[in-house]
């Protein structure tokens, strides 16, 4: 393989790579000016080696006698000079837009003028020269037209001489112009870097600057060697140097711009490389065919064969977009199945956010994602707080103190109507008299990102402009819309997680409350001579509103018995019960008679609670010496006294329920308990147990059941009764708290021995 061919391929590859980087970057975000300019920059840089290589290949086939440097095609390589004005434009836009606020900026196209003149001169000087010569001939011919054309010819001749001078020294003149452009660009980039505060943009500008300097340095060295004979480098070295310069320069620009956007840099480079090789293969095949066809065409078309070859190039260029699309599709399907830049961000964000349950950390992640991927300057979080039911601007790196937003805030209402990212300025109508708008205006917000779960606004993000003053593109809006959905999911997850932690905590508190309540119940019934006592309490929930207790009375032969049922269920009832129990103990301990105990208890509970909270309560004191049972019934289910003979007496005397009405007087009464009498106390959970047809178990059934079993031990009576009730109403757990106390008086003679214990 000849050196020329190797050199050509190297030129082609370098040029191709740059051109495809240009295409990829431009295509990624065509609406962004920086992308377009960078694309132009890389395209022009790539054109030079490509036109040299293509020209070389073509001339190989067509006219081996004419040196390539003298063909028209060669002149086209000067298009690469457009690189320099584009560089200036790039430096004006990067790292921040200096053209912003200048209004019409079409004048920047004037920057292209010198290079276009150069190109024009190279392409047309020969023809112009002929034209002017013809003109002069016509003038010398004389006549009317001669007179007429004389001044024109005069100007044209002077012009052509001037152009001739320019053309002769074109290398130097345009070299100087190009160099000036480069220096302006370096200056702009350098000052831009210093003015830039965003560390990432600063780093990128550095990359671009150093890439530019390196590339120019290498290029200058390679050019200088042409002028100094004693350091003449072999042609191979020169080629290598030029290509290295191009690759470094182009690569630096590409890297800088790709990092500034949020493209995946490896992906773009890989894509460009693959395109380059594939396209070179295509172009090579085409050129080979063109060469062969040109050879074949020469006998028929003669000198015009070259022109026809150019037509082929135009043709292939027209075909190019569709071919490139086709390659793009194939490459993507082969190598990059699911990976595109946008998706990478989304993927990365969701991967990080999904496992994050701490709201503050999650917000940090969102903040970072927006700042690094979209280059947003500042992000403010306004979120709805479930626990207090209000919207608030949360404290963050960018905001010092949590601020609550009024529910009626106009702007908040306006944002509530949004369902996608929206520019802040379009919410103008809602900004009057809004506290929120005042805060946001101060921070020059540009974009509102609503976070909606179904139709509920769980909050929104307020974004300032992008770093360096770039505008949000339609792609940014799309990305933000997708990201906002993920944020909603992540934020909701975090909240649910916090909620479930809270539930677990509550659960623990309730089981502690249950333990406390169980501890408040007596461990076992007291030992009373000649008395068998049995008691049981089953809450329908973890904690209940029923209770029973045995209370020591100052007079030792007496024992207090209480059974009570607070209105309602669960925790509120349990708290009421605890209060009742404490008051009762202290009242009994004070030695008050039963009716006074009841009256005081009612008064205290009435004062402490609202009137819909009350307790039905039965309190009695049993004197095991006299066997008298003194009691007072405050609206409680009538306890049953089942006599040995089967007769039943209800213990009704007392007063209304406790805690509902103030200033109530309570009566008390006394019954004498005899051998083998059964006293049964219960709460309505037992009597109101219902079967599937809503029929109540009812007091008559309880009465009959106990009368039938009055000969048995209270423990047996109670367990059989419970079994019977549960058979009747199998609901589990029972619908209402159920509490029972059964007392049976044993035969005094048999128990005389035990009574001393």
């Amino acid at each position: 393989m000849s050196f020329e061919l190797l050199e050509t391929i190297a030129y082609l590859l370098t040029g191709g790579f740059l051109v495809f980087l240009a295409i990829t970057i431009t295509r990624d975000n065509f609406t962004n000016r920086v992308n377009r300019v960078t694309g132009g920059l890389l395209l022009f840089a790539g054109l030079a080696p490509i036109s040299i290589a293509v020209g070389y290949l073509l001339t190989q086939g067509v006219s081996e006698t004419t040196p390539f440097e003298q063909t028209t095609l060669y002149s086209f390589h000067l298009t690469w000079e457009l690189f320099f004005p584009t560089l200036v434009v790039f430096a004006l836009l990067f790292p921040f837009n200096r053209l912003k606020g200048l209004g019409n900026t079409r004048w920047i196209y004037l920057l292209l003028a010198p290079q276009l003149i150069h190109l024009f001169l190279e392409l047309t000087f020969g023809e112009l020269n002929i034209l002017v010569t013809n003109l002069e001939n016509r003038v010398t011919e004389g006549g009317l037209s001669g007179i007429f054309l004389t001044p024109l010819s005069y100007i044209a001749t002077r012009l052509i001489v001037l152009l001739g001078i320019v053309k002769t020294y074109s290398v130097n003149i345009f070299g100087v112009i190009n160099l000036t452009y480069v220096m302006i660009s370096v200056y702009l980039l350098e000052t831009g870097r210093k003015l830039q505060t965003n560390p990432r943009l600063q780093a990128q500008t550095n990359v671009v600057l150093w890439g530019l300097r390196l590339a120019l340095g290498i290029f200058v060295i390679s050019q200088l060697t042409l002028h100094f004979d004693y350091i003449k480098l072999p042609e191979k070295w020169l080629t290598a140097l030029r290509l290295t310069a191009l690759l470094i320069g182009g690569g630096a620009f590409a890297f800088g711009i790709i990092r500034r956007q949020f493209l995946d840099i490896r992906l773009v480079f890989r894509q460009s490389l693959i395109y380059t090789f594939t396209s070179i293969l295509l172009v090579g095949t085409y050129i080979f065919l063109a060469m062969q066809s040109a050879k074949f065409l020469v006998p028929f078309f003669g000198a015009r064969a070259e022109t026809i070859s150019y037509l082929f190039i135009v043709f292939i260029l027209l075909l190019f977009p569709s071919i490139s699309n086709w390659i793009d599709t194939i490459i993507r399907s082969m190598f990059m199945r699911t990976r595109t830049d946008y998706r990478n961000i989304i993927e990365r964000f969701s991967r990080e956010a999904i496992s994050m349950f701490e709201p503050a950390k999650l917000r940090q992640t969102i903040d970072e994602a927006l700042k690094t991927s979209l280059l947003v300057d500042n992000v403010y979080f306004v979120l709805y707080d479930d626990s207090v039911g209000e919207y608030a601007i949360l404290q963050s790196d960018d905001y010092s103190k949590r601020t609550v937003i009024s529910r009626d805030d106009m702007l908040l209402r306006g944002i509530n109507l949004l369902d996608k990212p929206t520019s802040y300025s379009s919410l103008n109508d809602y900004q009057e008299d809004s506290q929120l708008a005042a805060i946001l205006n101060e921070r020059s917000i540009k974009l509102i990102l609503p976070l909606k779960d179904a139709n509920h606004l769980i909050g929104f993000l307020a974004l300032t402009g992008k770093a360096a003053g770039y505008r949000y593109t339609p792609e940014d809006y799309n990305l933000l819309a997708v990201l906002s959905n993920q944020m909603v999911i992540a934020l909701t997850n975090a909240r649910l997680y916090a909620d479930s932690l809270e539930k677990i905590r509550l659960q623990e508190e309730i089981s502690m409350a249950r333990q406390i309540q169980l501890d408040l119940l007596p461990d076992k019934p007291p030992d009373i001579p000649n008395t068998m006592i049995c008691a049981e309490s089953t809450p329908s929930r973890t904690v209940g509103g029923d209770f029973y207790d045995f209370i020591p009375v100052n007079r030792k032969e007496r024992m207090g018995i209480v059974i009570a049922d607070a209105s309602g269920k669960g925790m509120p009832a349990a708290l009421l019960i605890a209060q009742i129990q404490a008051i009762l103990h202290s009242e009994v301990n004070n030695g008050n008679p039963i009716s006074v105990v009841m009256k005081n208890m009612n008064q205290q509970i009435y004062r402490a609670t609202s009137s819909e909270k009350y307790v039905t309560l039965f309190y009695g004191e049993y004197d095991h010496v006299s066997r008298d049972f003194h009691y007072s019934n405050a609206g409680h289910n009538y306890p049953m006294l089942v006599r040995e003979c089967g007769e039943v007496e209800f213990l009704i005397e007392g007063g209304p329920i406790i805690g509902a009405l103030p200033g109530i007087e309570y009566q008390s009464a006394t019954v004498r308990l005899n051998d083998n009498d059964v006293l049964f106390l219960f709460t309505d959970g037992l009597s109101e147990a219902m079967d599937k047809d809503d029929v109540e178990y009812g007091e008559p059934r309880i009465r009959d059941f106990i009368v039938e079993r009055r000969g048995m031990d209270p423990e047996v009576i109670m367990s059989e009764l419970v079994r019977d009730v549960r058979q009747f109403d199998p609901t589990h757990p029972p619908q209402d708290d159920t509490t029972m106390v059964a007392i049976k008086i044993r035969n005094g003679k048999i128990d005389s021995h035990e009574s001393r214990l």
Binding site: A566, Y614, I657
Partner: protein, 113 residues
């Protein structure tokens, strides 16, 4: 519980229907009572004909209505008390607290005595 209300001869008639069981029922009755109290209408009859059943919380609501009216110099009377509720009032010994009548008319008439 559903609650309808009307006025007859200067007396407010409240007619709950279904089961009085607490929860939203409490606020419903409470708000309605205050509505009338604010208008200075403090003679109220609660017609219990349509009430099938009342649990302990339901009874609490009724007591609360009673005390609310009484604290505002008003009276709450009951009419058409069903057997079931009658026995509940008996057991809780609230029969002596609530004035109960066999019909709305009788209850209304009792305000003029």
């Amino acid at each position: 519980m559903r609650l309808s209300d009307r006025e007859q001869d200067g007396v407010v008639i409240l007619q709950p229907k279904g089961k009085i069981m607490g929860g939203p029922d409490a606020t419903l009755l409470h708000d309605k009572l205050y509505e009338y109290i604010d208008q200075g209408k403090k003679n109220v009859v609660v017609d219990l004909a349509g009430v099938d059943w009342m649990n302990s919380t339901g009874l609490g609501i009724l007591i609360s209505g009673f005390t609310t009216l009484r604290n505002n110099d008003g009276i709450l009377k009951l009419a058409n008390v069903t057997d079931k509720i009658q026995s509940l009032l008996t057991i809780t010994k609230l029969v002596s607290v609530f004035e109960a009548h066999d019909s709305i008319e009788e209850a209304i008439a009792s305000f003029n005595d």
